[in-house]
Symmetry: C2
Subunit: 442 residues, 2 copies
């Protein structure tokens, strides 16, 4: 068992809240038992015996959180991006996902994904796998081995899906999900999974029958499981859901009707729900999300690549919807949440300028918050530790960034170095990566 | 003198025209005297004696062309991106540009820029310097030394500019420009500059008096010099130009009135003009550009970052406006034209989806063309060699890309590897970089 009591010294930077960036030059960040004990300008006596890792001159920031990624789509990220959505799904996404029936293929493909994720800046992820239980468990094993913290879902889909992926009815899908959950729980006990948990994953309403959705709602209540799905990504999809659930009063409300949205009245401590996209969520849906504490995973690059639109993130923040960022591999091409931060700023500017809205663009502080503590709050709500910050008590998820080769002819403040890191850093700039006090890369 | 007769072997890929991507697996690209002699599946007998460089399994593509970059703004790229345009100019751009009066500062800052450019994927650049002649010449010396091919302009600005940068009237600005040109010409002769040329650079109409513009028009005719400037970047600027040049009939037409737009009737062989941005160019301006062969430098990231809008690139292509891509450092943060290619695709999708336009998004082939042969055509028009392609007779500007760590669990075509390189490659993937047959990096 490695030592999870140590100190890192460097130029430390984290978000206290969405507007407040804290910076400390040459300071000490204490890791005690895998958690942050705080950031100090002078080292308190009580930690004098902890080993000190000297990262002087480097930037130390919280690990990044990806709230939405499709693991099987990593294999074809950055391919076929000129296709229209439906053609892309039919020629790229569905045939690729079908391959994960073959465990040998899954081992190769998921192996590449997890190796890639270990080296990048994300430390926690909320993941769609496929409908296949063995491949999903294999992915979870690989993630556990990597040291990353993750919530992974075996996907449910029993209608309006290609034959190669559609499960044989609600009962079969639910039975398979039950088996998958049993396998997860047995791995969760004893010396099994420490960083890896299951999350219920109906693909989205159009591909799940009412019976399946209700059954998943039951499983959610029974096991207090978190849920992930897609919400209001594009206009045609919303119209489709309106036809499929005419009584619901809206897309989010339809999830709610199945017990798969926020905290239901009969389960105030329910595990949380995260919905990807929410591009076209109206004020009513936003209010429902805020009221029930449903997380929005903003995936700006995917929404651009797939011509979905630009999500009203400023409204989420003002209404109090808990929000974070997602790569949405492979609708998005880039796994790094640094890229999602830049994309989020840029599309917020375009939303304002192209649509003529009187709406402030997102600031660097705001997107840095979304990509760290904002997404990290989802893991806290799942009982997997506070994440995405260095406030005392947070899990020690940290990146050490060697940014000196992003050169400038004048001195830079820590805030300026962070802005450059967000915009300009590449994989090679990550010198060390810690998750829960364990060094997992470099 | 190094040997500029050699052969590279690898997976070769280039644009024949905007729609046609050529790919040859395991083929031979012959460099003869610094120029492409063509791509061959079997090596012709006549080149049997040329040394062979084995880049098997790597991608070999033409060097990228940046049609618009502000060299002094590189120092603060990725800083202050949350500021509004005017505040950004006042707190970042203008104070930084003023520093280039100090040659020692210029040496440090331009040194960092040129080192950075050498390692990146761009091989040719059209560059704004500052108003300062010594610093501009220093930059040109550094560029010549680097092996990159470039057109660099000492900036002219004699009105509506901050005191720290404004030149003391049209006569002073023109005299200074004359001195700068003399210095360039003397370096161009004998064993001096081989890859480096001057380009006339009025900042834009609002910051140049009519007298200055007319004088620059005279210099253009006298020396057959190319010209670069800014055009129709944002709506307020266009309104301003309308007030400053009420008789002109438009922004582009105003440049034309000063003899600083396309080929004037009295100078059919005039060197070409490149205009950055053209975000709000209307059909009339687009027709004028097409008719006179004025190049558009599309700078998608800058237009996003500065909330300018999205240029009608599809219209440029349909109307026959010669076009390429620009990083517009530091309105754009990223110098790599790979990033500009991705940005160009993405904003073309947003233009369509957000504005509800019935307009095809740009394809990967189209942006690859714009960022290579499209921009390269500007250099050809300047008599600096055909560039951006491997068609026989083109200058041998080539990148060797080691893309195997952009891993996939299945085989990829060369076209697919190119798409991934455009979206996902980082600096480390460039294994070798040649300009005019000379290896300048790795």
């Amino acid at each position: 068992m490695e030592n999870r009591n140590f100190i890192v010294q460097g130029d430390i930077c984290w978000c206290k809240d969405p507007q407040t960036l804290e910076t400390r030059a040459g300071a000490f960040l204490v890791c005690a038992g895998g958690k942050s004990a705080g950031v100090f300008s002078r080292l308190p006596e009580q930690y004098a015996a902890f080993p000190l890792l000297d990262y002087s001159g480097r930037l130390i920031i919280p690990g990044l959180v990806d709230l939405h990624i499709h693991a099987p789509q990593f294999a074809f990220r950055g391919l076929g991006m000129d296709l229209e959505l439906l053609e892309w799904l039919e020629t790229r996404a569905f045939p690729e996902e079908a391959k994960y029936r073959d465990l040998q293929y899954a081992r190769r493909a998921y192996g590449l994904l997890v190796e890639h994720l270990k080296k990048g800046p994300n430390t926690r992820l909320v993941i769609f796998a496929t409908v296949h239980t063995p491949a999903t468990l294999l992915l979870m094993d690989l993630l556990e081995e990597s040291g990353l913290v993750s919530l992974t879902g075996k996907v449910n889909m029993d209608r309006n899906s290609p034959d190669i992926l559609r499960e044989a009815g609600a009962a079969a899908s639910l039975a398979e999900t039950g088996e998958w959950l049993e396998a997860c729980f047995s791995r969760n006990s004893g010396s099994g999974y420490k960083n890896t948990r299951p999350i219920l994953t109906p693909r989205f309403i159009p591909s799940c029958s009412d019976e399946l959705m209700r059954g998943l709602g039951d499983l959610r209540r029974k096991y207090r499981l978190p849920v992930q799905s897609h919400l209001s990504e594009n206009k045609k999809e919303i119209e489709w859901v309106r036809k499929l659930c005419p009584e619901s009063g809206g897309y989010g409300a339809a999830y709610d009707g199945f017990g798969l949205f926020g905290a239901a009245a009969d389960a105030p401590s329910a595990a949380p729900v995260v919905m990807a996209h929410c591009v076209w969520s109206d004020e009513k849906e936003i209010a429902l999300m805020a009221g029930q504490g449903v997380f929005a995973a903003h995936c700006p690059q995917s929404n651009t690549n797939l011509s979905s639109g630009i999500a009203p993130v400023r409204h989420f923040l003002e209404a109090g919807v808990p929000a974070g960022l997602g790569s949405d591999i492979a609708g998005g091409v880039h796994s790094s949440i640094f890229r999602a931060m830049v994309d989020a700023i840029q599309v917020s500017k375009l939303r304002r300028s192209l649509l003529g809205l009187d709406e402030k663009a997102l600031s660097m502080e705001e997107v840095f918050y979304l990509g760290t503590a904002g997404g990290g709050a989802f893991f806290e709500r799942c009982g997997m530790g506070r994440a995405g910050s260095f406030e005392p008590g947070c899990d020690f998820d940290a990146l050490v960034i060697e940014d000196t080769d992003i050169a400038a002819p004048f001195g830079l403040s820590i805030r300026e170095r962070l802005e450059r890191t967000v915009y300009l850093s590449e994989e090679r700039h990550i010198t060390a990566k810690y998750v829960r006090g364990r060094k997992i890369s470099r």
